[in-house]
């Protein structure tokens, strides 16, 4: 496997005057409470993970959990107090100012919760802004920006000012701006949190469409667990600066690592999250029916078909080869069973 695009090794971010010395003295054993008594606040506590190319990592946590701080460490909008961060093998914290600016101009794009558009520029000028900062001339940058306008479906509004757009439209501009330099790495900081639920769903679908097309390496921050499940390849759940669990959506739902994570997963409609592959038996029994389902199917989509069968159903992979089986009772157990309030 090739090198991970983003790699964090025990990253710490501690706010406060003598954060550095305190971190040194703590010797890798950071306790939020003792730090707080000494006037320091722990933002990120020992975060280690990797994100590989084309993967979408969603960082989920409630407000104050340190997820935005983590993102700002990786984009180096704030300097991490300790640890190492590698972007495509480059040591981020050792870059000088010029190298950092270069990295941002060519490799990184970021979308913000409050859109953060420049009020004095039109839609197309906002999108062209990162290009012009790079020194690309006006005509070229505006042409490129117009492509982006089309990509996010804002054609016809390119000469509007941000104040004349709705929230959803403004965020489309934000997304287009972050994509204008064709970055490899895409940071999204709660991009849809400020939007109405209906618009939010629309934007999520739009986002998935874009990602399918662009295949960026993504770190996506959200406080909405459903959103995380819908979008993520892998989810990192944060609490008090610590990553509680980092795993695929299915594994988080099926095997929550801590009590805190379990609380989130309780109310999740499993049939919408889990795949057949997550719950099937990898052994095949004799007594098998005619129906076959693919292992990458979401349970919800095939549950009705399986439940109307009397016999066990065969599970196949993409090459039509049988890889396992699934029993209707298993589906019932998955959907309704093992929940606290049902016991």
């Amino acid at each position: 496997m090739s090198e991970p695009v983003i790699k964090c090794e025990s990253v710490y971010k501690i706010f406060g005057e003598n954060a550095k010395t305190m971190l040194k003295e703590a010797n890798g054993n950071v306790d939020a409470k003792t730090f707080q008594e000494n006037g320091c606040i722990v933002g990120v506590n020992n975060a280690s993970f990797e994100v590989s190319k084309g993967e979408m990592l969603v960082v989920m946590g409630l407000s104050g959990s340190g997820k935005s701080t983590l993102l700002r460490c990786i984009s180096r909008l704030t300097d991490a107090t300790g640890g190492k961060i590698f972007i495509e093998g480059q040591d981020l914290l050792n870059l000088n100012n010029k190298e950092l600016i270069d990295l941002r101009r060519n490799k990184m794009g970021m979308v913000f919760q409050s859109f953060a558009l420049l009020p004095h520029k039109t839609v197309v000028e906002n999108i062209a802004f990162p290009l012009q900062i790079k020194g690309i001339n006006t005509d070229k940058s505006i042409n490129k920006a117009m492509d982006m306008v089309k990509l996010v479906g804002l054609d016809g509004r390119e000469n509007y000012f941000p104040r004349e757009l709705s929230g959803g439209q403004q965020q489309r501009v934000g997304i287009a701006r972050s994509l204008a330099v064709e970055p490899d790495i895409w940071f999204l900081d709660e991009p849809f949190s400020a939007l109405d639920p209906l618009i939010r769903k629309e934007m999520q679908d739009e986002f998935l469409r874009l990602q399918e097309k662009l295949q960026k390496t993504i770190m996506f921050i959200t406080h909405d667990f459903d959103e995380a499940l819908k979008l993520a390849d892998r989810i990192a759940i944060m609490k008090d600066g610590i990553i509680e669990q980092l795993d695929t959506p299915a594994n988080i739902v099926l095997n929550p690592a801590t009590e805190y994570v379990r609380k989130f997963t309780e109310e999740v409609p499993r049939e919408k999250v889990l795949l057949i592959a997550d719950v099937m038996d990898s052994t095949t029994t004799e007594d098998i029916g005619d129906l076959k389902v693919t292992k990458d199917e979401i349970i919800e989509n095939v549950a009705e078909k399986i439940l109307t069968q009397e016999k066990t159903v065969a599970v196949i992979d993409n090459n039509n080869k049988i890889v396992g089986s699934i029993n209707p009772t298993k589906i019932i157990n998955t959907v309704f069973g093992r929940r606290k309030n049902n016991n």
Binding site: S114, L117, I133, N159
Partner: protein, 717 residues
């Protein structure tokens, strides 16, 4: 005892007041000499004790040390004078090339710098002035007088007033639409027709030089303060003092450094106008949402790009509000600078007031007010204007204003040429209406004033006497009974009760400075006049504000009135009161009251308006009456903001009291005025100015600390 536990603060305050009054009574004012003992400083009396402190003989009456502390700061004005003199005349002599005599000359560095600065400023002012009015100086600056004599055609012709008037209307149209354009055109035409063109353009050229320079300095310093905490910390106390220092007092040291005239006034105006620009720049940059800054950083901006492409455009409105402030301060300074010989409307006004020609003064005052309103409205319109998209317009649509102005230029010049043929007998009215050839209403006003005096003299006199004998004199006597020691105890106690040790120490320092200066009694007189003004203003302002708040239209109307009155330079307020009450303390006090009522009213309305509408609805739904709502909900919540209004009222009142010295009062202002005409007045003027600023800052500190605490307590911000 239970009561004591319930309201500990209340009892602390009562205790403080008891101590204060006990001290007041214990420290008796000696009968042996008169109240105003500022002269103790200058009169040599064998009964005085003397000692030498920091090279200056300190004289005081031994029995008097509790009433007023010995003037230990007496050396400060002299020290300031000496250092200024040393800087100007002795420090770092260097060889400089002299253009006129074509030889090297030895001169102190500072003198050379100020001379060069002076020459530069004079050049700038003359340049703009001659574009507007015509003249020779600018061309002379590039050539020589001999050359001019040889080429008599070489002269800046000046713009005909028609072009300037139409030009300002076009600018007003571009910034604020048709209404503002009509107002601008009419105002300029009025100024021209009534023969105030020349002084008005002189004043305008003054502002056109001072405002852009102040803007540049203010913006740069604001950016520096935004970037570096250290710069901000260093600037902050200076900004605070400058905001409460009477503009009058700053003029004095300018005299020493730069002499008399427009150039000195411009330089000193910049010193006064830069602080608000710094503050508003800082405020605007701070208000830029952090995510916008991060978006800029993530777009790969370097520091320079971040500042000029992201931060400043985003903070555009606040910065332009700063420009508005700068312009207004420059304008008010342009008027006051008449005291140090700046030409223009202020000079005419001062002259008219000195001659007691109320009619002329009113005319000049009216022009000043018109220009003030015009400048204010135009710069505000600029700040509130939003950028429009113009990429889809063609050349003519995009440049219609400039094209139209070009057309106006041609028409205006043609008109002026036509005028030069038509008006054969000397004055070309289509070019410039001379100062004494316009329509004048001065005679009418003067007659009006005479009539008012003839008709109402008895009543005005009676009112005047009553006010002075029954109210002012006793109040003044009471204030003069405040011993320095008792006052310090009161102020420090109040500081401690409101803001803790820190506040107490700051206030103590400020009070001690005043107490140790030789002018304790004068400071008391200033405070008494300001207090009287503030009390009356607050009563009027709070009442009017509350009444107006009951109706939406009245609210809007009143805020507009406040806006307009606030734009007038303080000096203008002296005209109508002198007209009605002549030269007395009453006049000053009435001017103070009128002037200080503006912030009192405004902040009352704004405070009441800031009460959230949700609370309003909640109260109505729980069935309160209008009065209950006002007293139980709106007043308590609006009170912190209203207290900020009180703060402003105090500053305004102090400013006016000081300027009132022009009419003749016996306070600190009088000494400042004296210092203006004194060769060695710089030190005294500056020290007096600082004293006045400190009086304001004592109240400022106490009120602000209280308001911050209260706001936190109420959870509003």
């Amino acid at each position: 005892m239970e009561l004591f536990k319930k309201y500990p603060k209340l009892f602390q305050w009562i205790f403080l007041l008891i101590v204060f009054f006990a001290l007041c009574f214990a420290i008796d004012v000696p009968e042996t000499y008169k109240f105003i003992r500022g002269q103790a400083e200058f009169v040599k009396d064998p009964n005085q004790s003397t000692f030498v402190f920091l090279g200056k003989e300190v004289r005081y009456y031994a029995f008097d040390v509790f009433w007023r502390l010995p003037p230990l700061l007496g050396w400060l004005p002299i020290w300031i004078n000496d250092s200024l003199f040393f800087l100007m005349n002795e420090w770092m002599p260097m060889e400089f090339w002299n253009e006129d005599t074509q030889e090297y000359k030895t001169r102190p560095l500072v003198l050379q710098i100020t001379r060069n600065l002076t020459a530069f400023m004079t050049f700038l002012i003359e340049l703009i002035r001659e574009i507007l009015l015509g003249g020779l100086e600018t061309i002379v600056a590039f050539t020589s007088w001999d050359w001019i004599d040889a080429n008599p055609w070489a002269e800046l012709p000046g713009l005909p007033w028609t072009i300037v008037a139409a030009g300002s209307a076009i600018l007003a149209y571009k910034l604020g639409g048709r209404g503002l354009a009509i107002f601008a055109g009419l105002a300029m035409t009025y100024i021209s027709i009534f023969g105030q063109w020349k002084p008005s353009m002189q004043t305008l050229s003054f502002i056109l030089v001072a405002a852009p320079l102040s803007f540049i300095f203010g913006l740069s310093l604001g950016i520096a303060a935004f970037k570096s905490k250290r710069v901000e910390k260093a600037l902050y106390p200076i900004l605070l003092v400058m905001q409460t220092m009477p503009q009058y007092a700053v003029l004095v040291p300018a005299l020493v450094l730069f002499g008399v005239g427009d150039h000195a006034a411009v330089i000193i105006t910049m010193i006064v106008a830069v602080p608000p620009m710094i503050l508003l720049t800082l405020l605007g940059l701070r208000a830029v949402p952090p995510e916008v800054i991060e978006a800029g950083r993530m777009s790969g901006c370097n520091n320079w790009q971040l500042m000029f492409k992201v931060l400043i455009p985003t903070a555009r409105r606040d910065i332009l509000i700063g420009v508005n402030q700068v312009i207004m301060v420059c304008f008010s300074m342009a008027v006051i600078s008449a005291f140090i010989g700046a030409k223009g409307l202020g000079f005419n006004l001062l002259l008219a007031l000195n001659q007691l020609n109320i009619g002329l003064a009113l005319e000049a005052g009216l022009c000043i007010s018109l220009i003030a309103i015009l400048l204010d409205k135009m710069s505000l319109a600029w700040a509130n204007k939003q950028v429009d998209y113009f990429g889809n317009l063609n050349f003519f649509q995009r440049n219609k204003n400039s094209l139209f102005f070009g057309l106006i230029m041609i028409v205006g010049i043609a008109l002026a040429y036509f005028g030069s043929i038509y008006f054969k007998d000397g004055y070309n009215y289509l070019f410039e209406v001379p100062h004494n050839k316009g329509i004048s209403t001065a005679g009418f006003w003067n007659k009006g004033v005479d009539w008012i005096f003839d008709t109402f003299f008895v009543y005005i006199k009676a009112f005047n006497t009553w006010l002075i004998v029954e109210v002012l004199q006793p109040m003044r006597a009471l204030y003069l009974r405040m011993p320095a020691i008792a006052t310090i105890v009161l102020v420090v106690g109040a500081g401690y009760l409101i803001g803790g040790t820190r506040s107490a120490l700051v206030v103590c320092g400020l009070t001690l400075f005043i107490a140790l200066s030789p002018w304790w009694d004068r400071a008391l007189v200033t405070t008494y006049m300001a207090t009287f003004g503030v009390i009356v203003s607050c009563i009027i302002g709070f009442t009017v504000g509350t009444l107006c708040f009951q109706n939406k239209h009245f609210t809007k109307f009143m805020l507009n009135v406040c806006d307009i009155f606030q734009t007038f330079p303080s000096f203008v307020y002296l005209i109508p009161v002198m007209m009605l009450f002549g030269i007395t303390d009453t006049s000053v006090l009435i001017a103070v009251i009128v002037y200080a009522t503006i912030p009192a009213t405004r902040y009352t309305i704004e405070g009441l308006r800031s009460v959230p509408s949700g609370l309003h609805d909640a109260a109505t739904m729980s069935g309160v009456t209008k009065f209950q709502r006002l007293f139980k909900i709106e007043f308590p919540l609006a009170f912190p903001h209203m207290m900020l209004g009180l703060n402003q009222t105090i500053v305004f009142a102090l400013f006016m009291v000081i300027i009132g010295a022009f009419i003749g009062t016996e306070d600190l202002g009088q000494y400042i005025l004296k210092a203006l005409s004194d060769k060695k007045g710089a030190g005294i003027g500056l020290t007096l100015g600082i004293c006045v600023a400190f009086i304001g800052l004592i109240f400022d500190n106490l009120i602000r600390t209280w308001v911050d605490k209260r706001k936190k307590h109420l959870g509003i911000d």
